[in-house]
Symmetry: C2
Subunit: 409 residues, 2 copies
């Protein structure tokens, strides 16, 4: 048997991420930052809140005045006035006094707690009974309790969620520096592959990878740029690769990476200027015939033509490279993974990492991962799958009931 | 103590979803369908594949000709020709014959299996030795093995992932019917709330909810439409509510829904034409002072002003209503939830459902949920949180080590 591939371990391939840096940053309105990656450290320039505010509707009081109050023996307080929302109260609250206050209002001078309106009874405009005692600070947010001036609120490299949009708004950040989204060029190859608006003749198949990979690129927070289907001829492929490289931060060709009569990808990648093939084969399944070159400083992938292999390689290998270009600070795969238990034994070949498609079901708060078996050329296995389970290189297989980590698909 | 709210159980509120239907559908290019909800049943009008294709590079053979072949005793086959990709082979393979074939190629008449190239040795242009036997059908995808003609491929109401984009492409679906995305109007209220480009004076706070809720609406696959900050005056609010209703499929006002001196939301919702308050208070925490009206056939929410309460109510209550308008067929909350174990005891009040913010960490393949305690007015608790844990109504609390379901944030 010949050594058809210069096969590399997955860990060696993943280590190549270190060659790449986050793309330049750009300023974006905070309203448009969902799922973008923060390119600056957000430091609070204010105390948040910068006044003592209440979290309840009720009466601002001195807590001491309520001590011992109960339904049977209410405390009796005189109402000094009402706090107007958004304004500094122009009066103070003394012992035996209270001020009407609504959620979010500023505590008057002298008050240190708020009694919920439900625990009071208004006797008339100027007097209330309080049925429950409050502790100092109760129902009050102190100055700087959320964030204090000078505090680091959000770190660079963080994926922005709705709550991060909220906190940046609280700090008055109309514009935020985020990393530019990677543009990923997508090229399909194969003389048997036809555009989706054509009817396949016998022996032909419509282009699946352009669309599913574009979906994956979007899901990874990047921007797909498609270049259609190239015939398996080096000259045509070379020209398209050059165009794709010029317009993208990373390029993926799918198809043509098996050892076959029409395997021109390596040839083309070698022929591109400032190009070096770094990986020719990865010891994973599916996805072994994956190529990674570096061309003009950019990652250039030759993905398997099999639709399932291409998607699996994208999910477990290409995506972490996109995360790197996106400026994401952590490897999020572990966070994305979901724990589950296998529903049956899974054999595996040693010497390679296996990724098995699974379907998830929940029972008594436990997720079960049911392996989906099927040839890697069959897209229906991916449609049925909810995730991938990894079987490590030096493991002979996994047993029924074993705890596994599921990478969502 | 007065009955300040006409409080409803969460289940009663969720049952009100049945009043709403999916929005009308629209045709969208398959390339733009990621995360959209399918509004038609996708049925295969072809066999996929519609020819027998190989999943490997190698030689198409009659399996019988390889039986008993081994390294020591190879089978000897004559090479009849090469299969051209995308074309119907113009020759047949007989007993003792083989045809060169690349991944994705069509099997010639007579062949029923493929020998991987790694298990052969080419003797000259016309003869090979085969070192390993193959079974009939090995490395071959049969006609219709992925999808057969007339088969339901994807159901209506399904969220479209990259693999679904791929399968629709395979079937030649350039345009796909998806449900229109709900437009969700967002109004902030509160005299203490100021636009984010202004510097707050004492007693004022910048508008957080407009931005965090817009982020949540996007995350739910809907389109946010913001109307800024309304002062707590019924006339102004009424006018803006009317505008928001006309332009949206659902409206959310945040703030002003507590029982307080400035509680005009109910008043305004009552004053709108064809409007009925359905829910005034929900027995959950945080989020009790939530209002749901139906106005002109559309859900109209009064969310708490507290930033955390507003987000929690959105995540656990409003979002399922958006899913309904989006045409999503299943309640996906269970699927979204991730199993974990609590790191400490969590007390809870009976008679209401509690949602506790938690931070997740992984250890030995097990996720641990660490409760984040903090006042619901503090946004930093949401920034630190990875998810929410639900404590059911009639439960006194949860114990350290207990299995919980975490709703991701």
């Amino acid at each position: 048997m010949k050594d058809f591939f210069k096969v590399m371990d997955m860990e060696q391939v993943m280590a190549l991420r270190a060659r790449y840096r986050a793309l330049p940053d750009e300023a974006v309105p905070v309203m448009e930052t969902l799922d973008r990656v923060l390119a600056e450290e957000i430091v609070s320039d204010i105390d948040l809140p910068d006044f003592r505010r209440t979290t309840m509707d009720g009466y601002a009081v001195r807590a001491g005045a309520t001590f011992g109050a109960s339904e049977g023996s209410p405390a009796f307080l005189s109402v000094k006035g009402s706090v107007r929302m958004g304004e500094v109260p122009d009066f103070a609250v003394g012992a035996g006094e209270a001020a009407r206050i609504s959620t979010g209002g500023m505590l008057p001078e002298g008050a240190d707690a708020v009694v919920m309106i439900e625990h009071t009874e208004s006797l008339d405009e100027t007097a209330i009974e309080v049925y429950k005692s409050v502790a100092p600070g109760q129902h009050v947010v102190e100055v700087g309790e959320d964030f204090s001036r000078g505090e680091i609120v959000l770190n660079r490299g963080r994926r922005i969620r709705p709550q991060e949009m909220g906190v940046m708004s609280a700090l008055g950040r109309e514009m935020v520096q985020v990393y530019r989204r990677p543009v990923v060029g997508i090229i399909s190859t194969g003389d048997e592959v036809i555009p989706i608006d054509q009817a396949p003749r016998q022996g032909q198949i419509r282009d699946i990878n352009t669309y599913s990979l574009a979906g994956w690129v979007r899901r990874a927070g990047a921007v797909p740029l498609t270049f259609g289907i190239m015939p398996d001829r080096p000259e045509a492929l070379l020209e398209t690769c050059g165009k794709a490289l010029a317009a993208s931060d990373m390029v993926m060709i799918s198809g043509g990476s098996s050892v076959g009569t029409r395997d021109y990808t390596i040839e083309v990648l070698d022929a591109l200027p400032r190009s070096q093939v770094m990986v020719h084969g990865i010891s994973i399944s599916p996805g072994k015939p994956t190529i990674l070159a570096e061309t003009d400083g950019k990652p250039f992938w030759g993905l398997p033509g099999h639709v399932v292999s291409a998607m699996v390689v994208f999910a477990v290998i290409v995506r972490p490279f996109i995360d790197r270009l996106s400026g994401l600070s952590e490897d999020l795969e572990a966070v994305r993974a979901v724990p589950a238990r296998l529903t049956r034994n899974l054999p595996s070949a040693q010497g390679r990492v296996d990724y098995v498609r699974v379907r998830l079901s929940a029972e008594n708060g436990q997720l079960h991962a049911e392996p989906i078996l099927g040839k890697s050329g069959l897209i229906h296995t991916m449609v049925r799958a909810d995730g991938l389970v990894r079987i490590d290189r030096d493991v002979e297989g996994l047993e029924k009931g074993e705890a596994v980590q599921v990478i969502p698909l």
